[in-house]
């Protein structure tokens, strides 16, 4: 951790406590996100990795009873500051979801949606093409841009969602188990795409698949569930460079998890 240059950190998430109503979902998790790297969130189910991810662009605001204690520093601003508009946050920190969720519009309109939302004044066609190229989908859809986004295959839909999310050039891209609904071939394509994406974006990915984290992530954060207090509270066990974490985990719990003692 000492080797980290402070400048490298684009987003510093300190989740001291996250509540859903009275339920303490996550505690004491400090996750620094480094620029132009892929940060993987792994851990057993219910460990709060998705909750933390969705706290980073305030998606959890939509959930009733959600309370966040801590801070998420993004460009010297705490996005949980009262002055910050969560809508503006989500426009700068994009998100890709577990289920591919293109809108019931044409492929073109799906990508143009975000551009229109941000009142983009330039050449729309050109920008849509750029985004689809960025999402590694252009060659497959360039002849059927007018077709419904829902007519694509699952993997294509997910790449469309990625193209849609990156069309406006957000700085950070959050991915919540983006491959869990896809077959192995589509998963590989998305993984390759992620490696391209990190040249330009900073990517955070939640995955339940340790191999996937090993393949794509530069940094890995391992979360676990603490059932000692009575609830099922998730917390960060340890975080570090992926190679380091997998080959030489510092914590006993991480060792057991990587070894497959629990999942």
């Amino acid at each position: 951790m000492n080797s980290l240059l402070q400048d490298d950190i684009i987003l510093d998430c300190r989740a001291e406590k996250i509540f859903y109503s009275d339920f303490l979902a996550v505690r004491d998790s400090h996750v620094p996100i480094r620029k132009n790297q892929i940060t993987g969130f792994i851990g057993p189910s219910g460990c709060g990795k998705s909750t933390v991810l969705r706290s980073i662009n305030r998606m959890n605001d939509l959930i009733r009873g959600f309370k966040f204690f801590g801070s998420v520093q993004f460009h010297s601003m705490d996005i949980y500051d009262k002055k910050v508009d969560p809508v503006a946050v989500r426009r700068n920190i994009g998100m890709v979801f577990q289920q591919p969720n293109p809108f019931a519009m044409s492929i073109y309109e799906n990508v143009a949606f975000g551009l229109r939302l941000n009142r983009f004044k330039g050449n729309m066609d050109e920008q849509v093409e750029k985004a689809l190229r960025g999402g590694a989908l252009w060659d497959e859809v360039k002849d059927k841009l007018k077709k419904s986004g829902l007519s694509l295959s699952g993997g294509q839909q997910q790449r469309l969602c990625i193209a849609r999310a990156i069309a406006t050039g957000p700085q950070v891209l959050l991915m919540d188990e983006p491959c869990s609904a896809l077959d192995p071939i589509a998963t590989r394509q998305i993984e390759e795409l992620m490696l391209q994406l990190k040249e330009r974006f900073t990517v955070c990915i939640v995955t339940h698949n340790m191999q996937q984290a090993q393949r794509v992530a530069d940094q890995t954060a391992f979360f676990s569930v603490d059932i000692s207090v009575g609830g099922r509270t998730g917390y960060l066990v340890e975080m570090g460079a992926t190679k380091e974490l997998f080959s030489n985990p510092q914590e006993q719990l991480t060792k057991e998890y990587l070894h497959g003692d629990f999942s």
């Binding site: 989500r90 998100m95 949606f113 975000g114 939302l117 999310a165």
Partner: protein
């Protein structure tokens, strides 16, 4: 004791016994059920046959263009003013209730589904949907006819609106809720404001369902008589929104016990027109509904 033991050891009897009391009872009950089902279909066919038989002969151009005859006019005449009156009043009601119902439904489904006011509003809408239709008429009489000092198409429209509102509101709420959560998440994840997410993503997806509700409400309102009886009442002249206004439903009621054979025939013809209109609206709503389910 011994006997039961012996029975247990015997091979069980697995053959069919069609005349055993259990089997007979089953057959009897099934027969009754079939008869009930057939009997229940009889009224529909009887009504349809009678409408065509008694009203079909009057289906011609004159029916749709001419004004109603007087009681002493032995043939001819039409129901043009009643058709226009029905469309006009249902139109007013739709113009009031569509924005009213859909906007309230958006709040109930999305912006504040768990708030106290939403619970009360949902309860109010459900209560209103059970309101006797004549009460809507009494209400419109109290606020429109008494204040304006005369029967009018406007009062009729308001009475119908009271009846249409709960249907539109409750179906719109249901369909907006049924839009998959991941679509709403996608919109929010892109940085939509709640209103942008609603107008650009959720409402377009819920639109077919909302239209279904509106069409059903319109179909119901078009056939309502009671709320119009003392709000729009009836007129033998062409539409004049500030004056008493004719409608198909009230025309049928007024002419149903007319001594004039001519007027009675018109009542049947008007019924046929009304039922065809209502059925078409029902079909349209079903068609939209089934198309979206695919």
């Amino acid at each position: 004791m011994n006997e039961t033991k012996n029975n247990l050891l015997q091979l069980p009897n697995l053959e069919r016994h069609p005349f055993e009391p259990r089997a007979l009872k089953s057959i009897l009950l099934s027969t009754i059920t079939v008869i009930c089902a057939i009997l229940a279909c009889v009224p529909l066919f009887s009504v349809l046959v009678m409408l065509i038989y008694r009203g079909g002969s009057r289906i011609n151009l004159e029916l749709f263009t001419a004004l109603p005859p007087t009681a002493f006019q032995f043939d001819g005449g039409g129901i043009s003013n009643a058709i226009i009156g029905t469309l006009f009043m249902v139109g007013i009601a739709a113009l009031i209730t569509i924005p009213f119902g859909v906007l309230a439904a958006i709040y109930l489904a999305e912006f504040g589904p768990y708030s106290k006011i939403a619970t009360i509003a949902r309860f109010s809408a459900k209560t209103m949907s059970g309101l006797p239709s004549i009460i809507a008429g009494v209400f419109a009489y109290a606020i429109m006819v008494i204040t304006m000092g005369s029967y009018s198409a406007w009062a009729g429209g308001v009475a119908l609106a009271v009846l249409m509102l709960p249907t539109i509101l409750l179906t719109a709420e249901e369909t907006i809720k049924m839009v998959p959560k991941r679509m709403k998440e996608a919109a929010f994840g892109m940085g939509c404001t709640p209103s942008q997410s609603m107008t650009k993503v959720v409402l377009p997806m819920a639109l077919p369902g909302i239209i279904t509700g509106v069409v059903l409400a319109v179909a119901r309102a078009a056939g309502e008589t009671a709320p119009l009886l003392f709000t729009a009442i009836f007129s033998e002249y062409a539409l004049e929104p500030n004056d008493p206004t004719a409608s198909l439903a009230v025309l049928i009621y007024n002419y149903s016990n007319s001594t004039s054979e001519n007027q009675l025939e018109l009542a049947w013809a008007a019924s046929l027109v009304l039922v065809v209109l209502v059925f078409i609206l029902n079909m349209v709503s079903r068609w939209i509904g089934s198309r979206t389910r695919k």
